[in-house]
Symmetry: C2
Subunit: 193 residues, 2 copies
Amino acid sequence: MIILGVDPGLTRCGVGVIEAGANRRLSFIHVDVVRSDPHTSQDLRLLTIYQGLCEKMDRFIPDAVSIERVFAQENRNTVLGTAQAAGVAMLAAAQRGIPVALHTPTEAKLALTGNGKAQKIQIERMVTKVLGLNTLPTPADAADALSLAICHALRPQGALQGGEREQHLTAAQRQWAQAAQKAARRAGVRAGM
Amino acid sequence: MIILGVDPGLTRCGVGVIEAGANRRLSFIHVDVVRSDPHTSQDLRLLTIYQGLCEKMDRFIPDAVSIERVFAQENRNTVLGTAQAAGVAMLAAAQRGIPVALHTPTEAKLALTGNGKAQKIQIERMVTKVLGLNTLPTPADAADALSLAICHALRPQGALQGGEREQHLTAAQRQWAQAAQKAARRAGVRAGM
């Protein structure tokens, strides 16, 4: 299963592609940043980001696209551009019939480190380790896109369903399930999604 | 000159099309609402809105698209969906090489009534009058999309350039210019656009 992660942004939009094989064995395929010129108009910037993401999806033909969930109250200065970049990423996937998953940064951190408040460098190191790379992935800020793809590959499938299945989760998976439930509630209330 | 106005929304996205002829004579062409099902996933909803807007642009071949500018601090419950609907509208226009203008609700109200705080019913009545319609446009909430198209047609071209040209503006145009300048500052600071 090929998973394409997107760390949305209007100026820099991270893209990370991995393959999830048998026994959740993960391997690195690609990492890059799609950029748009801050000095051009917003419509042309969105077109540039969209075209860059379409090119990646057509090249790697992912089975799933994992995008960072954007919240209204965070990073006020750039939140709308970030939301719109996430929007054109969703659109590009929907046009190709690729299922889209939204994951919060907390979910990605929990999936990789078992700690929802892990530091950036810890995430980068775990991405490197999980994917069996020799060096940290570059560009460094695209590690977030890889972490979103990894998060989707490692997600505890039954975590959101609660009940009996939740009893078999590890402590980290329970933490993750709780973070995911909290995010779903926040998204429902605040983002109207 | 054909102008297509967009009142962005994920559940209901208003579309209004007008023609601006000689002496700023305006005539009504089309008004409609593109809807998406709130029970489907966000990526499919954005695809539905995008496809609906593309269909309108391909049918009416506008010379300009006028979209309501979204601010981060407003309507927290739905602001991200609204921003994303505005984003796919911008993308659809950019893909067709159609210039995009963003106008604030205050600018649209000022353009129509000379009052940036006009009530909804006043806007609807002025839209009806300016376009020479016999009845209020339906669906009623699509009047906002027409008001955005009208706002773009009537915009004071020199208003943002200040200096000598501003001295020749009417009181309403000066008010508008001030609102536009304020909006541009807010957009620069808060939305990072």
